[in-house]
Amino acid sequence: MSEWTRSASMMPELLSALLSGALTTIEITFFSFILATVIGAALAIVQSFPATLPRAVIRVYVEVMRGTPVLTQLFVLYFGLAQIGIKLDPIPVAILGFGINGGALLTEVFRAGLQSVHVGQSEAAFMLGMSRLKALRYVLLPQAMRVVIPPLANYGVGLLKETALASAVAAPELSFYARNLVTKTYLSGPIYVMAATIYIAMSFPLSRLAQHLELRASRGRRAP
C-alpha cells in the first residue's frame, strides 16, 4: 500500500496535471459535439428531400461510421492522412474524428425526429405558401427537437467518455496525462483511480441532465 501513501504526498501535482488534461477532454467533447450536431442535422435535412443520390451517399456514410470502431477512424485520420501528406495535430484530429463519427449517429437521431412530426404539419405549412426550407426552419425542426434532445444529451454523455480514445493519437487529454504520469511515477493504481473519479465527476452531472431532459420530453407527449 506504499503506492497510495506515496501518491498522497504527490497529490497536488498529480491532481493539477490530471485536471489540466480534463480541460482538454472538455474542449474535445464540446467541439466534437457541435460538429456532430451540425453534420447530423444537415444530413437528416438532406435525407428528407426526395433526391435519391445524396440519400444513398448519406446511407453509406452512416453505415460505414456505425460499422467501424472510432479508434480505427481516428487512426485513419491521424496516421493514414499523414502518409499522404496531410498532417493534422492531435486535438483537431480528435475533434474531426469524433465529430464525423457522431455525425452519423446523430443523422439517425435527427431523421427519427423529423419523421416523428406529423405529415399534416408540413402539408399545412406548404398550404400557407411556405417553401420547403421555411417549413423545415419554422415548423418541422422546432417540433422535431422535442424528440431529438433526449438522445442528443445521451450522445453527449457517451462522447465525453469516448474522448479517452484521443489519447491513442496523443491528444493531451485526461487519459493521456494519466498515462504519462504513470510512466513517470509508476503509481498506476492511484492515478487511474483518480482519472476514473474525474471522468465520473464530469459525466455524472451530464447524465443527470440527460435524464431530466428525457423526463421532460416524455411529459405531455401526444399519444401517437
Binding site: P69, Q83, G189
Partner: protein
Amino acid sequence: MIQLLGDWLPQLLQGVLWTLRLMVLSFALAAVLALPIALARLSANGMLRLLAHLYVELVRGMPSLTLLFLIYFGLPNLGITLRAIDAAVIGLGLNGAAYVSEIYRAGILAIDSGQREAAQMIGMRHRQVLRFVILPQAVRVVLAPLGNFAIALLKDTSVASLISAPEMMLQARDLTSEYFMPLQIYVAVGVMYLLMALPLASLVRFMESRLGAGLPKEKAV
C-alpha cells in the same frame, strides 16, 4: 496493392479471430454478471439495490479504456498480474455488465404486473415467479437491445489494442510499423470490422421486426 493485401491478410485474419474471441467471451461475462445486478437493482433489499446502483453508475461514468488501464496496469501493484487478453475480457465484461443490467431491468419491468400477480395467486413463490413467468417473457424484450450491445461491443474490443491485447487493431499497428502504409492498412481493417458488423446489424433488424410484429410468424399464416 493486391499483392500487399495478400501479405497482410494472414495476420489480419488472426486479428479477426482474436477480436471475435474477445467479443464472445466479454459478451458472455457481461450477460451473466448483468443478471444478478439487474435482480439486485429490483430487489426489496435496500442495501443490495444501493450497491447495484452504485456499480452501474460508477462503471457507466468512466471510459472503458480507464477501466482496462486500471485492471491491466493498476492490479499488478496489488500482486495481480493478468495477460492483456484476459484483462481485456474482464474489463469489457465488467463494463458491459453495467449496460446489460439496464437492458435486463427494462425487460423485466416491461412485463405486465398482472403476470406476476397471477403467478402469485396460483401459489408460486417469488423465485418461481421469476424463473417460470417473468424471465421467459423478458427474454423476448431483451433480445434486440442485446444485439445492439453486441455490435457496440465488437467495435469496443478495438480499445483492447491500447493495452496490447493481440486483436485486430494491434495486428494492424504491427503491420504499419513493418510496411509504413497506415492509410491502406487501417482502411482494410475498417472494411473487416464492417464485414463483421453488418451481418450482426441485419440480424438485429430482423429480430426487431419479428418482435415488433408481436406474434410469431407461423401463427399469422
